[in-house]
């Protein structure tokens, strides 16, 4: 038996199509201008990237504000190039980790470590590598910069995608299998949509984080080589060197404009659109909105032009993944034996890698150096912890206060997120000017710079947590006359409620501060160098001296510190929050 009802729907659709005029409307025009403008900038920018390296010296960074739009476009282009790489990396690596137990064994710990080590320290190595890859061409330096940004973006995105794949709702998975979706269809219909909300959020976080690195990676000095790529980062470094306060201000304004532009034109619309991928079966109470998304939805002409393309895209034959069917090992003993063998191989490779690093470092450095570096690490650790405590004391009460007032929270939340995205390192030199003028001790007064950019994570997470305190809890508290003025209210209502959020924020802030220490412990302003003793300044000095073994040692030690801190402090707290304080 087949279904043969009259095809009413079909006819109705045709009539509706015919009635609707295809003339462009206002929304089309807005979008058209934006797209055309973007295209011009991208082609212009791409042309400069392929120039020979000597071109950089011919056209050095000029502090003429008229160049700023171009520089901003170049910088943004680099970030999106890195983002594209990160997405590709995410889809391939995270999928591999989720589908293969053997790959998972290697990828998950590797991601975990990579997302906590200070990527800024690697710049030395990657620049040398990429410049060797494209000798004499600007592309090499570009690739190094893009790679640096990529290393700031990719890990948490891959992690979030992996976690989504591991937590696919069981019934949807069964439905997909039962109706026989191919792996390709499964990816587009189930896996990618389910992972989208978390991935979008992590992508936004990654974009915020990468501003910090763009400033550091566009003007790189490795040993005798100094390269400045045209971009906002290089502009800033030149401006700082010359002590040109106005130029710094211009760059800051430009950056703000760029951040607001891509937030409004790209991320807000995506967040609004991604709301439909939330796996809950109920409509969200307060769906995210975006004016630009509304514009896109109202467009008349452009969708007509895009739809045929997507239809054509759908017609494309799905890539036929080679169907490798390994013979299923049904003997559990052999299967377990193979698992152990694989584990042994992985451990052997890890040991070999560790040994390679140690032998590289020990060629020029002694145990005494290692001890000294650990001492410096302890100094930086003390700074990070003290700063987190101070930032928490300041921002937790303020965050709770704001979070309890929905109107304020709505206004301040985006501002806090903007500050988190804003690369605080552009302001470092100006602060240094003050320190020099006041002859303050750099060992103390350089420290706050480390948390200048990352404290906002604490603030906006606490706001989110306080806003999520259930009403019945608040009512029960006020029934017993508990108010924010009493300590008991904080102990029983506020702190437990915001704790999981706070931990997320503090963890991010702590990781960011380690990274920031590399640029915050040594700062240049008008050819003056101010330095605080610590692991960050050790790595920075070794980098500018081109002393690779020292850089390797410094990064290695910092990685150990970060990982230990995560394992012994943040992860247990996280586990406690998830177990006990989850609402």
């Amino acid at each position: 038996m087949t279904f043969l009802p009259p095809d009413r729907m079909n006819a109705g659709l045709l009539i509706r199509y015919a009635r609707r005029r295809l003339a462009p409307n206002r929304a089309d025009i807005i979008a058209l201008f934006l797209i055309a403008g973007g295209a011009v900038l991208v082609t212009q920018a791409a042309r400069t990237m392929g120039r020979p390296l000597s071109g950089l010296n011919v056209a050095p960074i000029s502090l003429d504000p008229r160049n700023l739009p171009m520089y901003a476009a170049l910088t943004t282009l680099r970030m999106f190039a890195a983002l594209a790489c990160s997405l590709l990396f995410t889809f391939v690596v995270a999928t591999l980790a989720a589908k293969s137990k053997k790959a998972e064994l290697v990828i998950v710990p590797a991601l975990d470590i990579l997302q906590s080590v200070p990527v800024l320290g690697f710049l030395t190595f990657t620049v040398t590598f990429f410049m060797g890859l494209f000798p004499g061409n600007e592309m090499g330096v570009e690739a190094a910069a893009i790679f640096a940004i990529f290393t700031a973006q990719a890990w948490n995105m891959a992690f979030s995608f992996y976690q989504s794949l591991k937590t696919l709702p069981e019934d949807l998975d069964e439905a997909a299998r039962q109706f026989g979706l191919s792996p390709w269809q499964r990816f587009w219909k189930l896996e990618l949509p389910f992972a989208t909300p978390a991935l979008v959020w992590n992508t936004m976080m990654s974009m915020s984080g990468s501003w910090f690195f763009i400033v550091a990676s566009e003007a790189i000095t490795v040993g005798k080589t100094t390269v400045a790529l045209p971009g906002i980062g290089a502009w800033l470094s030149v401006a700082n060197e010359r002590g040109d306060g106005w130029a710094v201000l211009w760059a800051v304004i430009t950056m703000g404009v760029v951040i607001i532009l891509y937030d409004q034109l790209l991320f807000r619309p995506i967040v609004a659109w991604a709301d439909k991928f939330r796996a809950e079966q109920t409509a969200s109470q307060d769906p995210p909105r975006s004016w630009f998304y509304d514009v896109i939805k109202r467009m008349r002409l452009l969708p007509r032009l895009v739809v045929p393309m997507t239809v054509a895209l759908n017609r494309l034959p799905a890539p036929q993944a080679p169907q490798i069917r390994l013979p299923e090992i049904r003997n559990p003993q052999i299967a377990r034996g193979l698992d152990w063998l694989w584990l042994a191989v992985v451990i052997a490779m890890a040991l070999w890698g560790g040994w390679a690093v140690i032998s590289f470092v020990s060629r020029t450095l002694t145990l005494g150096d290692a001890v000294q570096v650990f001492g410096l690490g302890a100094l930086t650790l003390a700074r990070v912890l003290i700063l987190i405590v101070i930032a928490s004391i300041i921002w937790v009460p303020i965050g709770v206060w704001i979070g309890l007032r929905p109107i304020w929270a709505e206004r301040i939340q985006p501002v806090a997120q903007f500050f988190a995205a804003f690369p605080a390192n552009v302001l470092f030199p100006a602060v240094v000017g003050v320190i020099v003028a006041l002859r303050a001790d750099p060992n103390i007064w350089l420290s706050p710079l480390m948390i200048l950019g990352t404290q906002w994570y604490i603030l906006f997470n606490v706001i989110a947590g306080a806003a999520a305190i259930p009403n019945d809890l608040k009512e029960a508290a006020s029934m017993f006359h508990l108010t924010p003025r009493s300590w008991q209210w904080w102990r029983t209502v506020a702190l437990p409620s915001i704790f999981p959020y706070y931990i997320t924020g503090a963890l991010t802030a702590s990781g960011g501060s380690w990274n920031a220490s590399i640029v915050a412990e040594v700062v240049t302003w008008r050819h003056q160098n101010i330095e605080a003793a610590g692991l960050g300044s050790y790595i920075a000095d070794a980098t500018s001296a081109g002393d690779y073994p020292k850089v390797a040692l410094g990064i290695g030690v910092m990685s150990i510190f970060v990982i230990l801190l995560n394992r012994t402090l943040w992860r247990p707290l996280y586990g406690f929050a998830a177990r006990r304080l989850h609402l």
């Binding site: 087949t2 009802p5 039962q178 979706l181 949509p193």
Partner: protein
């Protein structure tokens, strides 16, 4: 449609399940939980067959085995097409939780299976719209699942399964996530479509734990025992459609099935037999002490006077068989009650518990718990033996996992923690995941 089948076709077997056994958990080591044992099933054209049993009876596992979602540990499952050139073939499944993709519209959800089979877009549209029409969702083609009520969502699930024209429709507790009224409407609509032959399917195999639902819809009911799941009875339902719940023959059949479902817990079986495993390895259900007390009080209350028929009691307490039986069996395990056939009767301990004050109740409960629940006695003994009067819960969890899967171990330990806390025979600290003897009072 029912009348047009040639005799040869009517006798064909659509599904043949032979000697299916399924073991969950630790692979190969023999420590896994036996879910299905020696199951045979034959599905012929033109019938609705119900798999009826309690949770843990493996009926859903069997359905998933037939759908190809899981492979049985041993045994064979053959799904055949109808003889001749019948357009319907294969199986399609309707899920308890609907399993709709929230980011796809109703129509896109319905087209899912067609797309997977590479049906061209135009034909997909025609067929999906027809299925949506058939199932009564006209006008909702562009809605997202979250905009629909539960009943409508399950209609989408039904359309999605029907549109691929399976010869067998598999339904996994399709109405149990719906409220009573919605479920009844959907059942009636489905039966109407079936009786009028408007669905492109040849047979329906449905899993349910609701006895009345099975009697209402099925031509044949296979009753499963639990732990391990076995077919303990096959019941033919000859009542003409549409069936009436208040019909005495209908009621008699429901009562009969009730008795069969509790039969294994009768006198001849060991008292502990209601739960899988023996001694320490007994898997216990997570049942609150309030529920147990409430059940004892209900049994002791005036019309019952300490003795009741289980079906009547279920009606009175508005519980499904699936919910009532674990409570009854826990009472039996602790000797607060005994079950015989479909009758449950309070023991002396049960009657004493009913009239006692709070503290006396706790003491009595502690006595019975230590005497008849081996795990509780074991934990207490370990704590008594240790100088520190403490023991990590991990240790008992590991012991349990030698007998059962991780999930069952967790549930069993949870049950004992709740009962032990109420009886005040030990304390449990969630933070440190330890048992101790310190007096919480």
């Amino acid at each position: 449609m029912p009348t047009t089948l040639a005799p040869a076709v009517a006798d064909a077997n659509l599904v043949e399940v032979r000697n299916v056994k399924h073991v969950y958990g630790k692979g190969g080591g023999g420590a896994g939980l036996l879910v299905l044992e020696d199951v045979d099933l034959t599905l012929r054209p033109n019938e609705i067959v119900g798999l009826l049993g309690r949770s843990g009876s493996g009926k859903s596992t069997l359905l998933r085995t037939i759908s190809g979602l899981i492979r049985p540990t041993s045994g064979t499952v053959v799904v055949k097409d109808m003889p001749g050139d019948d357009t319907a073939h294969g199986v399609a499944m309707v899920f308890q939780s609907f399993a709709l993709f929230p980011w796809l519209t109703v129509q896109q959800n319905v087209e899912l299976g067609l797309e997977a089979r590479g049906v061209p877009a135009e034909e997909r549209r025609t067929r999906s719209l027809a299925a949506i029409d058939l199932i009564g969702l006209d006008g909702f083609e562009n809605a997202y699942p979250k905009e629909l009520s539960g009943g409508m969502r399950q209609r989408v699930g039904l359309a999605r399964a029907l549109v691929v024209q399976p010869s067998i429709l598999l339904m996994d507790e399709p109405f149990s996530a719906l409220d009573v009224l919605t479920a009844e409407t959907l059942r009636t609509d489905l039966l109407d479509l079936w009786v009028e032959g408007r669905m492109p399917i040849r047979s329906i195999l449905m899993v349910t734990h609701n006895i009345e639902e099975a009697v209402l819809m099925c031509d044949r009911i296979l009753v499963f025992s639990s732990n391990p799941g076995r077919v303990i009875a096959e019941i033919k339902v000859d009542l003409p459609q549409p069936r009436k719940r208040l019909d005495p023959a209908f009621r008699a059949l429901v009562d009969d099935i009730y008795a069969r479902m509790t039969a294994r817990t009768g006198r001849e079986a060991a008292r502990d037999g209601a739960f899988p495993g023996l001694g320490l390895g007994m898997a216990l259900p997570r049942i609150s002490t309030n529920t147990l007390a409430g059940m004892i009080e209900a049994l002791a209350a005036s019309p019952n006077d300490g003795k009741a028929e289980l079906p009547t009691l279920a009606n009175e307490l508005m519980l499904e068989a699936d919910e009532l039986l674990p409570i009854a069996e826990t009472l039996q395990l602790m000797r607060f009650a005994e079950i015989e056939g479909r009758t449950i009767r309070l023991t002396t301990a049960g009657r004493r518990y009913n009239v006692a004050e709070v503290d006396a109740r706790k003491q009595l409960f502690a006595q019975q718990l230590l005497a008849y629940v081996p795990l509780a006695a074991h934990i207490r003994r370990v704590l008594d033996d240790r100088a520190s009067r403490q023991a990590p819960a991990r240790r008992f969890r590991d012991e349990l996992e030698d007998f059962m899967s991780e999930d069952y171990a967790e549930e069993t330990l949870d049950a004992v923690v709740t009962w032990g806390r109420y009886a005040e025979i030990f304390a449990f600290h969630d933070d440190s995941d330890r048992f101790s003897l310190d007096d919480p009072g």
